[in-house]
């Protein structure tokens, strides 16, 4: 909980990870390249005091996770965006199985994302059903750029992807987080193209598609799609990080998103552990949209809008009653700040 002028701000971190990138888990040299690439983004955009040595970045463990999110990071609830990368990491990078450990320990604090890969075709459908039956899955995280047996990615409008989305909907899933962001070595940039979201959002009007990293650097394509499709939302992780190093640019991104999508479709995410929520939230709450941008775009970033972005918007997508949830969390030992 963040407090601002006597008001509580309930914070949901819509995009975070609990990964294991220790060298012993690297399947190939790509496991090493991947985490080094993440570490470079971490070092490049974090304030100096928030930069971790590489070793800690590879594996920070449960204590650091709970501290950085709930004890010092103002976060009330966090969404585990499971990422698999089985071709790079022996046990996966942060699968729903790995993530379920903390979900089980702090059931009210975490929402767990599962996933599917349409390239598994028929054979994967049962596995998907089993995952849904055996784990407390609240949403899905889809990674269209993931490598699989020589394939460099897939698209949300592939026929098998539609079959999986149908099944997910049947099994009660409402929210689909789709990773569409900056190039991460060695993945193919084409696989981050956002246009497939447009098709899926039209075909599945009752599913919500939260486009993680707002498609950066394809923000323009993302904005045209999200402005048209009422069920496409902006996941702000990565974009958030500019608030420190490039505040003016951050303001331009936010002004554009407010202009095209309005204040009810923007959702905070830290992308922890690439960036830590504490400084992101402090700097975001202290941030004022420059006057010329307010005038240029006819938008503002008021306290009420910040509160929507930090928690209220995504709470609505996941049917979370903030008052009831806050009361419940007050009793879990981590306490409210």
């Amino acid at each position: 909980m963040y407090r601002h002028d006597g008001h509580d701000v309930f914070v949901i971190d819509g995009h975070m990870h609990f990964w294991d990138a220790r060298p012993e888990n690297w399947q190939t040299k790509h496991g090493e390249s991947w985490i080094k690439c993440f570490h470079a983004y971490h070092g490049a955009l974090s304030p100096a005091e928030a930069v971790w040595p590489f070793e800690k970045f590879c594996h920070y463990g449960e204590e650091a996770l709970v501290d950085d999110l709930f004890r010092t990071g103002y976060v009330d609830m966090a969404i585990l965006n499971s990422t698999y990368l089985h071709e790079f990491y022996k046990n996966g990078f942060n699968t729903h199985i790995q993530n379920a450990v903390v979900k089980q320990k702090y059931p009210d604090r975490f929402l767990l994302c599962g996933s599917f890969d349409p390239r598994d075709e028929e054979a994967g459908l049962d596995r998907f059903r089993n995952m849904m039956a055996e784990y407390p899955i609240s949403g899905l995280k889809l990674y269209t750029a993931e490598w699989r047996n020589g394939s460099r990615g897939w698209r949300l409008n592939d026929p098998w992807a539609s079959k999986y989305l149908e099944l997910a909907q049947e099994l009660g899933i409402k929210n689909i987080h789709v990773h569409k962001g900056p190039t991460v070595y060695p993945l193919s940039a084409d696989a981050f193209d956002v246009h497939d979201v447009d098709y899926a959002a039209t075909d599945f009007p009752d599913l919500n598609f939260i486009v993680e990293h707002v498609g950066l650097p394809r923000l323009d394509d993302f904005c045209w799609i999200a402005a048209q499709e009422s069920n496409v939302f902006a996941g702000l992780s990565v974009a958030m990080a500019f608030v420190h190093l490039r505040p003016r640019y951050f303001g331009e991104i936010i002004a554009n998103l407010l202009f095209w999508l309005g204040p009810d479709k923007l959702c905070f995410g830290s992308d922890y552990a690439i960036w830590t929520p504490k400084w992101l939230i402090e700097k975001f709450m202290a941030y004022e949209l420059p006057e010329d941008l307010k005038q240029e775009y006819h938008v503002d970033l008021t306290f009420e809008i910040k509160r929507k972005i930090l928690g209220e918007n995504i709470a609505r997508l996941y049917d979370i009653d903030i008052a009831a949830q806050a009361a419940k969390l007050g009793r879990d030992g981590l306490g409210l700040r």
Binding site: S33, K36, C37, H39, A40, Y41, G43, A44, L45, S46, A48, V51, W52, P53, F54, E55, F57, P182, T183, V184, Y185, P186, A189, D190, L216, P217, R218, L219, D220, D221, C223, F242, L245, R246, Y249, E252, I253, N256, F259, W260, E296
Partner: protein, 261 residues
Amino acid sequence: MTERAQPPCEFPAGYDGTAVIARLAQVLDPELDESVLDLGFIKSLRLVAGEAEVALQLPTSWCAVNFAYLMADDVRRALLAVPGVRRVTVSLGDHCAAAEIEAAVNAGRPFAEAFPAEAAGGLAALRLTFLRKGFLVRQQRLLQELRAAGCDAATICALRLDEVRVADEAIMIGDKSRLGGAAVLRRYLERRAELGLDCRPTAPLVVDIDGTPFTPERFAAHYENARTVRIALEANGSFCRALMTLRRLDGFEKGGGHVPA
């Protein structure tokens, strides 16, 4: 970027390297639409007996292979166009595909042949896409200048090329000047010519990517779109600069995790 980062250059005694530097300054990072020289991507240059060796350093070892090839190839061609330069060897340092790109570029082999799996759509199409996006961005910066000078949509749509010029590093609209935008206007006009759009004095100042003039009504939507394209393109520029700064710090990539305050 305003200041020009001069890479360490080694020229033969008495050789005037101005032409070489000027050629390099024209090579752009297609995505960032900025000179590779200004971006600091040229690490060193050595010219001996008509043979040039250029070392590039891109912001990360995972910069997209197609863009990396494109810049290395453009650098090589730019230097080969300098009188007296007979041979150019480009190196890419610790880029993930350095060996393959160097082998192809230095032998003048096309990208599609060197990287058959990556060449979806081809490099020419990629280059054109970014030239066109760059046109929108350059025009959008000019429009910002015009709006700041108090021009409304109707005025902007009515302006002809011969009504806007540069004098004393200022944009002149008729006899009114708007300070500071000279480079903005030049960059827009350069790209407009490069794309083969109508540049006759009586042509409208502001046209769309196909050369069609705007009505004030259509202009409003165009302006809103163009500014979003600019913000989108600046994302990679912002990443690149931040990552480049980091890369220049010895030790970070070795796991030290130290960045300057």
